[in-house]
Amino acid sequence: MNKLILGRYFPGESWVHQLDPRAKIVAAVYFIFVLFLANNWQTYVLLWAFTFIAMRYSQVPIRIYLRGVRPLLYLILFTVFLQILFTAGGKIYFEWGPIVISEYGLINGFYIFCRFVMIIFVSTVVTLTTKPIDLTDGINALLKPLRKMKVPVDEIALMLSISLRFIPNLLDETQKVMDAQRARGTEFGEGSLLKQMKTLVPIFLPLFVSSLNRAEEMANVMEVRGYQSGATRSSFRQLYWKHRDSVCLCVMITLTLGLLWLRNEGLFH
């Protein structure tokens, strides 16, 4: 659990930290789309340059980003492997029955690898530098137009923010119940799988019961504090679009122009 980097917040006050969450989300999503413009080594160099600059400006140590890639490494290698095997063209380096490793296969495999890693790096930049609650605000703000289509955007955002708020409580409670049951002689992580599954019941049942009670109590609290689902609510959490946020979007446009230009200078054309 401690290894998962995606979704963690790394406190700091870097240039990237101070960007508006909307700007960061838009930039990251946009980046994933412009990735598909890349088709030669020059474009990939440009994208890597952008990625590294974003990572540097976040002032988060590189090793933390590398840790973020680790859990997904096998998935990436598997995809790269398929890509190498099923792309034909160019010089052939190895052939054994239907299995062919060609020049284009290797190049494509490498490009796919780059795309994956860059997507992970850039989205980790966003999650590491934005508090979960600010992310929620950002998503909420960006999805506002969907309200016209009767999508309950505010309700979803509130639900998300309350869930985030209660994660520490839930972890605390889990620890308490585990301690209590260990004191009654349960041992975790021992014996057969079936035996281990059985030891989970005395943990999850009490947690389930207390979560239900909590949910009921919270619903009461929200009601008496005047919360009505569907009613128009103002928001105390305000997002401010600053100069740097516009700069961020300009950088994205420049990146696109650069890609479009380099694309036509490419290896294959």
Binding site: I162, E217, M218, V224, R225, Y227, T232, S234
Partner: protein, 270 residues
């Protein structure tokens, strides 16, 4: 006479219509503006149900509740809730916002208050409960007593007339309990608040203006603490009175009526 801020008339309530036993039967009382009313009674006497009825979480079978002149019903309850707020027992389950100030603002957001006004209200409310310095804290950094302060600030921000404390001190340690009670007493004076406190703590109840004793869903007595402790000897009174009774049972010549701490010390001194 002034119109009471809360008027409860012939309130009767049961959770299950098919069952005979009523949680509350024929409860009537009124509370004046600026008064502190302590509601006491053993577990199962209907105290908490009464609190939840007052804020419109249930609706009663019979009888009526008026708050500040408005009759509480399904349509008026949203309006009434701007007048009356409630603090519950568990400090954790009342914290909706992700930081102290966000939580205080929750009730204001619900009535769609403009941002600029919210800022002023939140600021003021945090100041009243002494939590200004911790406005950006998330709840995991707060003690139980501080969370209850935030809950109170969330109510104060709405500028209500009444705060109901539903055993809100139970989960606090004695020190935070005392300091929170102090704050509430000050707020009551300063902001002309009416406070209804549901409690097991007889020391706390003894500091109220009046006590309401509930027994099996009925109002057994509503009077000054002095009178209630005098009349109902099965209630465990505050320490000074316990000492007076103990002295009396040992044959000492003490006055035969209820005594507060101050009175007892003065009597000993003379």
């Amino acid at each position: 006479m002034l119109q009471p801020i809360i008027e409860v008339n012939n309130l009767t309530f049961q959770y299950d219509q098919r069952l005979e036993d009523k949680v509350l039967s024929d409860v009537s009382f009124s509370v004046q503006k600026g008064e502190w009313l302590a509601i006491v009674g053993s577990n199962g006497s209907g105290k908490s149900t009464l609190a939840q009825l007052l804020v419109g979480l249930y609706s009663s079978l019979l009888g009526s509740i008026h708050i500040n002149g408005i009759e509480l019903n399904e349509t008026s309850k949203w309006e009434v809730r701007k007048q009356i707020g409630i603090v519950f027992q568990n400090p954790d389950n009342q914290f909706i916002g992700s930081t102290v100030q966000d939580d205080v603002a929750f009730g204001l957001e619900n009535i769609n208050m403009p941002y600029e006004e919210m800022q002023v209200r939140v600021e003021k409310a945090l100041e009243l409960v002494g939590m200004t310095d911790m406005r950006l804290y998330d709840p995991s950094r707060l003690s139980g007593g501080q969370k209850q302060r935030v809950a109170i600030a969330g109510i104060l921000a709405l500028k209500p007339s009444v705060i109901v404390m539903d055993e809100a001190f139970v989960m606090l340690d004695p020190k935070s309990r005392r300091s929170l009670l102090n704050t509430l007493h000050q707020l009551k004076e300063k902001e002309q608040l009416t406070i209804i406190s549901i409690t097991h703590d007889m020391d706390e109840a003894a500091t109220a203006d009046r006590m309401l004793l509930l027994e099996a869903g009925k109002v057994k007595e509503i009077a000054s603490p002095r009178h209630v402790f005098q009349q109902h000897t099965n209630l465990e009174p505050p320490f000074a009175e316990r000492l007076r009774r103990k002295l009396s049972s040992k044959g000492a010549s003490v006055p035969s009526t209820y005594m507060t701490e101050k009175e007892l010390v003065q009597w000993l001194w003379k």
